[in-house]
């Protein structure tokens, strides 16, 4: 299969869906000529014109609200919120409007809108450009949340997001745009709520999201050298969450670590750990462990920032600690 970058896969999904469905439009800051600050949308305006790839003022609440209204009246907007940190400005439109319109109207109105935004640190961008705030929207009924880790998943999940009749918040790790991988040609759809086992293993389950999948895979390699066989499971969507696949994996391995780049406290890892601890209760040989961003605003200085993110070594160490005593007892 042909290889392409994560960013190109995003672009391809958008281009294919825009060709297929004239209701699909893109709205955001510097999305047209500039093709976004990450250059992910480069060229789309040339093919689809400024009527469908719309440069906006710097008004995150406003453009999200405009997206909601357009979605309610026959369009399928893809709203671009440059940095996930800026979703703070659009929470009312996402949570009180987009997420609730269908329900509040007794099912009569729909909001087929995608909010594409980013997460992830280590770009030395400091506290307001580095957050992974995907827990907030995952908390809200009415929203769906996807966060692909590979170029193929990016294409498949974004296509699904655009075709979904509900508001979907779609998270891309800024550090992954250059990651390469095989991507199916033509229409490619991945259903929401289906986790993907990125690596099979038997001793410990590492649940990892977005770019943490790479951290987990690297950890798995380290662990393999130490004689521990790790299974890496990528939920791919946080809502709907494929608990069945997660639980099945842990029933097999008896141990689980959850890795996500957001904050641990009241975050993604809490939900997934709680679900596993509950549903795989009788199978667990050890408590479920969680790894996430350090509990601090993201600092600028590289020597500090590097201490805030999960690494293959920290994940491997946690897995070793988890398997150690139990392995010994086997």
């Amino acid at each position: 299969m042909r290889e392409m970058t994560f960013g190109q896969a995003i672009r391809e999904a958008l281009a294919e869906e825009m060709r297929r469905d004239s209701r699909v439009i893109i709205i955001g800051e510097d999305v047209a000529e500039a093709g976004t600050v990450f250059k992910v949308l480069a060229g789309l305006v040339d093919e689809f014109g400024p009527e469908r790839v719309i440069d906006t003022p710097i008004s995150e609440a406003g453009i999200t609200g405009v997206g909601v209204g357009a979605a309610m009246t026959g369009m399928r907007p893809v709203v671009d919120i440059m940095f996930g940190d800026f979703i703070t400005l659009a929470m009312d439109q996402i949570v009180n409007q987009a997420a609730k319109v269908h329900y509040m109207s007794g099912g009569k109105l729909r909001v087929p809108m995608v909010v594409r935004t980013t997460l992830g640190a280590t770009r030395r961008s400091a506290a307001q450009h580095s957050q992974s705030l995907h827990a907030w929207v995952s908390h809200i009924p009415g929203l769906k949340v996807a966060l692909p880790s590979t170029p193929a998943d990016a294409k498949g999940l974004l296509t699904t997001a655009i075709r979904d009749d509900n508001p979907v918040v779609f998270y891309e790790d800024k550090m992954m745009y250059q990651v390469k991988g095989p991507v199916p040609e033509g229409e490619y759809v991945i259903p929401f709520g289906v986790a993907d086992i990125k690596r099979a293993g038997t001793d410990v389950t590492i649940v990892a999201t977005s770019s943490m999948v790479y951290v987990a895979l690297e950890a798995a390699t380290l662990l393999e050298a130490a004689g521990i066989s790790a299974e890496v499971v990528d939920p791919r969507t946080l809502y709907p969450l494929d608990t069945a696949t997660l639980v099945r994996s842990v029933q097999k391995t008896g141990r689980a670590i959850v890795v996500d780049e957001g904050y641990m406290r009241y975050g993604i890892t809490a939900e997934i750990a709680a679900v596993i601890a509950d549903e795989a209760f009788d199978y667990l040989d050890a408590p479920v462990k969680r790894i996430g961003a350090a509990d601090v605003p993201v600092p600028f200085s590289p020597v500090l920032e590097d201490r805030t993110v999960p690494t293959a070594h920290s994940v491997a160490a946690a897995a070793t600690a988890l398997c150690g005593p139990a392995s010994a007892s086997r």
Binding site: G65, G106, K108
Partner: protein, 332 residues
Amino acid sequence: MDIGVRKRATAAGRAQRDQWLDVYRRMLLIRIFEEHVNDLYTGGKMPGLAHLYIGEEAVAVGVCHALRRDDYITSTHRGHGHCLAKGASVDRMFAELLGKEPGYCRGKGGSMHIADPDAGNLGANGIVGGSAGIATGAALSAKLRATDQVAVCFFGDGALNQGLLYEVMNMAALWKLPVIYVCEHNVYGEYTHSSETTAGDPKARPAALGIPSGEVDGQDVRAVYAAAGDHVERARHGGGPGFLLCRTYRFRGHHVGDINRPYRAREEEEGWIRDRDPVRILGGWLAQQRLADAAGLEEIEREVRAEVAAGVQFALAAPYPDPSEVAEDVYA
């Protein structure tokens, strides 16, 4: 003048009369609807909160009279009038207010969230100013789909201080979107006078963005209709957004439970109710123009009262949704 012309003139006159009688009927419908809401609420039959539109009827009716059925509106927490003016039926409105199954939202929305997309009503909103984006997005949609629909965003004077409004008005101005922002300036936001919360002349705010911006006596439905009509026609023909400040007053409390209203003077209230009642103002004009006599207006009132009473009965008798519906319609 030959007979043909006279006939046509008479036909035009009749249409003109029918039009204003219809407008009168609709304003009265809102008035009487709201009086019944008040009674249902104080009688313990309606849960939640009720923000009555009494006194402001000319705004919703005047503006919506200038709209087509397929034009869009967005509404507010004080939204019953907008819904009725845009074409909602009384029985399903009451049913929604009581949380009943045949309500417009199957009881899920209630007073602050009635939506009626069949009539172009994209929904009331419990967030002050929260629908400004939706209305603007509907206008963008109309433009992109190349229909000639227009969107109207109703909001109160309090909503003038929500930043979202300026973000979306800016986009509407830049992109020449067919949206009209209608500010229902009833002088208070909850329990605070607008002079304490709103600096400058509200009309100047959209004007600063290059949006044609006007002001109208919100108690005079014919004036509202004329002013709204200008904005709607311009918007419909590609002329971009408009802003209409309607000076009005809520005759009742912020919500039904707001009884004492220490924040405003009784004389102020009485003055508006006595001199500036939009229903009476139109009724007076109809009489003066000899388009209707007292008996005719009473006949309309009887019909409206019957319609509203039937609506109340319908809603009271209607079933609640099955509790299992609670989990439906979360996702499409």
